[in-house]
Amino acid sequence: MITPQMVLYEDEFNRIQGSVSQLVKSANAKVVFVVDKNGQLIAASGEVDNLDTTSLASLTAGNIAATGGMAKLLRENEFATQYHEGKNQHIYIQLVGNRVILVVIYDAKSSLGLVRLRVRKTTEELTGIFEAMNRKAEDPNSGSPFAEITDEDIDNLFND
């Protein structure tokens, strides 16, 4: 069978969203988002209205994957932190629990030191939330809401 699916429940979603929104404020960031290592956007907060978060999520995951590949070649476990400095905006990327990626975009209103400091606390929070999610996923009573889909449901999807 293929890799197990990740199911995000209301409770965890609210906690992740809360952490991310808090980080926007505490780090004076423009945007904060959380992506899983496969490139799926999990949560975002800040000035996201004019931002293509889907593409950013996919590229972030590609970036982390490529860096992870380099780490492997160097026999490092992982490069958990990355920082990209632009003229006006900067990106700070932190791997959380080797499963998800925390991304902070900020400008001159903040600083690398502040972002690094605040990210540390958020990383701890998120690690706890995702560990709880993992435990829930291992619960034999959990499963997919798609267990009862029918062939007809699938056909209807393509009737356009």
Partner: protein, 204 residues
């Protein structure tokens, strides 16, 4: 790995287009992008060389509609086909939910097809997966060119297990959506198979 967001009522799946260099993987995505309504697609991202060869991946987010009240989002990726980009190919397969093998029908590309298919098996094995276990379809592309193998010949070498297969001319769009629909259908069937009910009765 499918990602189900119960809060946003969304399901996200990752489809990877695999195949040898210049077989038409990017062309498949480009056609899908061109023919999809603006509201159902995101931006297509191509990480390509200056000569338009895929360097890392192409990425296209698509919304296929709703199933059981859930928005279905497909993230389509291509891999770089050229042999020496193997490290990148391996990375892109991580978390794959469904795979399309795009074969180049030309006689001269038979070895390249076989090599790429072997490479797909090896790279999937790195994630503990076998081709037979994942939603998988084969597309025989470039059926309009001269000097091509017959479908029977291609099938016997590239698809002996009889997975769903499609003839295509991706540059004209022939077979492109049929291939996508087939793999999407298999992904949903896999989801159905792997599920055991509504998660703890707590779906929102």
């Amino acid at each position: 790995m499918t990602f189900i967001n119960l809060m946003a009522r969304e399901i996200n799946c990752k489809i990877v287009y695999y195949g040898p260099g210049l077989c038409g993987k990017t062309t498949n995505l480009q056609y899908i992008y061109d023919r999809t309504k603006p509201e159902a697609k995101g931006k297509m991202v191509s990480l390509a060389t200056e000569t338009d060869r895929t360097l890392f991946f192409d990425f296209l987010p698509l919304e296929l509609g709703e199933i059981r009240g859930f928005k279905t989002r497909f993230h389509l990726y291509t891999v770089p086909g050229q042999v020496f980009y193997d490290a990148s190919r391996k990375l892109i397969l991580k978390g794959v939910d469904g795979c399309v093998f795009v074969a180049d029908s030309q006689i001269a590309r038979l070895d390249a097809n076989e090599e790429s298919l072997d490479n797909l098996r090896v790279n999937l094995a790195e994630y503990g997966l076998a081709l037979e276990q994942i939603p998988y379809v084969v597309q025989y592309n470039k059926r309009d060119l001269p000097g091509i193998l017959s479908i029977e010949e291609l099938r016997s070498i590239l698809n002996p297990n009889g997975m769903p297969e499609f003839e295509a001319v991706a540059s004209q769009g022939k077979g492109v959506f049929e291939t996508l629909k087939a793999v999407a259908r298999l992904v949903f069937l896999e989801l159905k198979k792997s599920g055991t009910g509504v998660p703890g009765g707590r779906a929102v």
